[in-house]
C-alpha cells in the first residue's frame, strides 16, 4: 500500500511524533549535550570538552554500576522467567479460580514501591527478618543481608522478581493459549511424557513470546532504578556512598540519579546517561543478534 495513501499514514503518526519530539527527543538531546559542560543544575553552562567522558572511562564506580546492573539483572530475570513459566503452565491447566489467581499474581505490579521497599527491608533485616528466620529453620546461620555484597544483590533482585513474575506469567500464558491443542494430542499419541512434551513442543512454540518477554525484561533490568533506590539508603548524599555497602546495589540509572540529582553534578550525570544509552544499545544488538541467529 504505497502512493497517495501514505499521506494519512504520516498524518496518523503526527500526534505521536509531535509529543515524542518535544517531550522526549529534545530533552534527551539536551541531556546528552550537557555532558560536555560542568553544569551544576542551576546557573550558566561552561563548556569543558570531553573531560567528563575521559573521567567516565576511568571511573571505577561507573564500571561497577554496569557490572551490578548486569548481575542484578540476571539474578532477577532468570528466576523470574522460570517462575513465570511455571505459574503460566499451572494457570493454563487450571479452570477453577483462574481469573482470581491472575489478578492476585498481578497485584505486586500495582502495589506502591514505597510500601514494597519498607516490607522488603524488613524481610531482609539481619535480626528480625523472615529471610533469616527461614535460614535458621533449615539449619543455616543467619546472614547480614543488607551488609554484604551478595545479600544486597539478592534482596534487590528478589524485589524486582516479585513485582514482575505475575506480569510475565500472563504474557507467557497468552503464548501458551495460542498453541494449537492438536499438537499436544499428537505428541500424546506418540507416547511423549509431560516433561518431554514441554521441552520438545511447548518451549519451541513459545519461542516468540519468550523472546518478547526476555527483551522486555532485559530492557527493564538495564534501566532498573527504583528497586535499588528503595532498598538501599545511604548515610550521606554522595554518590560514592550510594547503593548500599560497597556500592553493591548501585545500578547505572541509580548512579546517574545520585550524581545528577543528589550531588548536582549534572554535567557528569549526563555523561553517565551517554554510558547507559550505549550499553542499552549494545545490549539490544546482542539480544537481536542472538535471536536472529537461532531463528
Amino acid at each position: 500500500m504505497r502512493g497517495k495513501r501514505s499521506v494519512p499514514a504520516y498524518l496518523s503518526l503526527m500526534p505521536f511524533f509531535a509529543a515524542f519530539a518535544i517531550f522526549m527527543m529534545l530533552p534527551i538531546l539536551f541531556t546528552l549535550g550537557i555532558a560536555f559542560t560542568d553544569w551544576k543544575g542551576i546557573g550558566k553552562f561552561h563548556f569543558v570538552g570531553t573531560q567528563n567522558f575521559q573521567y567516565l572511562l576511568g571511573d571505577p564506580l561507573f564500571w561497577k554500576s554496569l557490572l551490578n546492573t548486569v548481575v542484578i539483572g540476571i539474578m532477577a530475570t532468570v528466576p523470574c522467567l522460570v517462575l513465570a513459566t511455571l505459574v503460566a503452565l499451572g494457570l493454563n491447566s487450571t479452570v477453577r479460580f483462574s481469573n482470581t489467581y491472575r489478578v492476585a499474581y498481578l497485584i505486586p505490579n500495582i502495589t506502591s514501591l514505597v510500601a514494597m521497599g519498607i516490607l522488603f527491608s524488613s524481610i531482609f533485616s539481619s535480626n528480625f527478618g523472615i529471610a533469616n528466620a527461614l535460614l535458621n529453620w533449615i539449619g543455616l546461620s543467619p546472614i547480614r543481608w543488607m551488609q554484604t555484597e551478595w545479600g544486597i544483590k539478592v534482596a534487590i533482585s528478589t524485589l524486582s522478581c516479585w513485582s514482575f513474575v505475575g506480569y510475565n506469567s500472563l504474557l507467557i500464558l497468552a503464548g501458551l493459549q495460542s498453541i494449537d491443542k492438536q499438537v499436544y494430542e499428537a505428541a500424546h499419541l506418540d507416547g511423549a511424557g509431560p516433561v518431554r512434551t514441554f521441552f520438545s513442543i511447548t518451549l519451541p512454540l513459545l519461542r516468540p513470546i519468550v523472546i518478547f518477554v526476555t527483551i522486555m525484561s532485559t530492557i527493564g533490568s538495564l534501566q532498573s532504578f527504583t528497586e535499588a533506590q528503595v532498598m538501599t539508603s545511604s548515610q550521606t548524599s554522595g554518590s560514592a556512598n550510594a547503593g548500599g555497602v560497597g556500592n553493591s546495589g548501585l545500578t547505572m540509572v541509580l548512579y546517574f540519579y545520585s550524581v545528577a540529582f543528589q550531588e548536582n553534578r549534572y554535567g557528569y550525570g549526563a555523561t553517565i546517561a551517554w554510558g547507559v544509552m550505549i550499553v542499552v544499545v549494545i545490549g539490544t544488538i546482542i539480544n537481536w543478534y542472538v535471536t536472529k541467529e537461532r531463528s
Binding site: N99, R102, V103, F256
Partner: protein, 298 residues
C-alpha cells in the same frame, strides 16, 4: 472431592491432555491438589505486601518495628485515616489524579493505536527509520530527560499545571510497540482490502476495522497506562507545585517527614491511593487478561 474432579474435567485443557491422566482420576487428584496449593501459595505471596500495607495502616507507627511484626489488623485505622485527611487534601488530589490518568489513558490509546496501525499495515517512505526511532527511545530510561523536560515546561509556562504531567506521558513508546505487534498479526490484510473496496479511507479503516478487532489488546494498554499514570511519582513531584493541583502520589510524599515518619499514616495514605486502582483492576481484569491472550506474539 468429586465435585472438584468433575468441575475440572469439562475444562479439559491441553495440559491435562498431555499429562494423560484422564483415565486415572485418583492419580490425577494428587497433582491437581499440589498444583492448586502451589498456585495458592504463589498468590498469597503476591498479595502479601498489599495485605501487610493494610495491616500497618491499622496500627500506630511503631508497629512496623515490632518483632514479630503484626500480621492482623489493629484498631488504629480510624485514627490513621483521620490523620491523613487532616494533613493533606486527599480527595482533591484523587480528583486531579483521576483527571490526569483518564486523560493520559484516552490520549495514549488514541495516539498510539493510530500510529501502531500505520506502522503495522502501511508502507511508506521512512517507516523503518521512524519505527527505529520509536524503539530507540523505548530503550532509554525516562530519568535521562527529566531536567530538560522541566526547563521546557518552564518555557511553555506549564509548570504547576496538570497538562505538564499529561503531555509528556504521550511520548512513551510501549503502546506503539505493543499494538503494532497485535495489528500485524490479527488484522487481516484481506479485510482491509475489502474495506478499501467499500470506499473506506484510512481513518475509517482504523476506526471501523482495526480498533474493534483489537479490543482486548487496547484494554490491556489502557489499564496499564492508567496504572502507570496513577502511580507516576518522580515527574509530577518535580513539575507540580500548586497546592490545588497535586496528584495523589505527590500529596502522599508530603506525609513522609525527615524525622519520625508516621508509618501508620503513610501506609493508610498508600492504601487510599491504591484501592481505587485495585477496584478498577479487578473490574477490568477479564477484559485485559483477554487482551493479553489475544495480543500474544504469534
Amino acid at each position: 472431592m468429586g465435585a472438584a474432579l468433575s468441575g475440572s474435567r469439562p475444562g479439559a485443557s491441553h495440559t491435562e491432555a498431555w499429562m494423560s491422566m484422564r483415565r486415572r482420576p485418583v492419580r490425577k487428584l494428587v497433582p491437581q491438589i499440589v498444583k492448586h496449593l502451589l498456585l495458592l501459595l504463589g498468590a498469597l505471596i503476591s498479595i502479601f505486601p498489599l495485605y501487610w500495607m493494610f495491616v500497618l495502616s491499622t496500627h500506630d507507627s511503631s508497629a512496623i518495628y515490632k518483632f514479630p511484626p503484626p500480621l492482623v489488623p489493629g484498631g488504629g485505622a480510624a485514627a490513621n485515616f483521620n490523620r491523613v485527611l487532616s494533613t493533606v487534601n486527599v480527595w482533591a488530589a484523587m480528583g486531579n489524579t483521576t483527571f490526569v490518568a483518564v486523560s493520559v489513558t484516552v490520549l495514549v490509546v488514541l495516539i498510539d493505536s493510530m500510529a501502531a496501525f500505520s506502522f503495522a499495515k502501511y508502507s511508506f517512505r521512512g517507516r523503518n527509520l521512524l519505527f527505529g526511532i520509536v524503539m530507540a527511545t523505548f530503550l532509554l530510561p525516562s530519568q535521562l530527560a527529566t531536567i530538560p523536560q522541566f526547563l521546557m515546561m518552564t518555557k511553555l509556562g506549564w509548570v504547576g499545571q496538570l497538562k505538564a504531567v499529561i503531555f509528556p506521558s504521550l511520548a512513551g513508546a510501549f503502546g506503539i510497540f505493543w499494538l503494532r505487534q497485535y495489528f500485524m498479526n490479527s488484522v487481516q490484510t484481506e479485510v482491509l482490502e475489502a474495506s478499501i473496496m467499500d470506499g473506506c479511507g484510512f481513518f475509517r479503516q482504523y476506526w471501523n476495522v482495526a480498533l474493534p478487532s483489537a479490543r482486548g489488546a487496547v484494554s490491556f494498554l489502557a489499564i496499564f497506562t492508567f496504572i502507570g499514570s496513577w502511580n507516576d511519582f518522580m515527574w509530577p513531584l518535580i513539575v507540580l507545585n500548586d497546592p490545588n493541583r497535586l496528584t495523589l502520589q505527590v500529596v502522599l510524599s508530603q506525609l513522609q517527614t525527615a524525622h519520625g515518619t508516621d508509618y501508620g499514616m503513610l501506609m493508610m495514605g498508600a492504601l487510599i491511593a491504591v484501592l481505587p486502582l485495585i477496584l478498577i483492576f479487578i473490574a477490568g481484569a477479564r477484559q485485559f487478561i483477554a487482551g493479553l491472550t489475544e495480543g500474544a506474539v504469534r
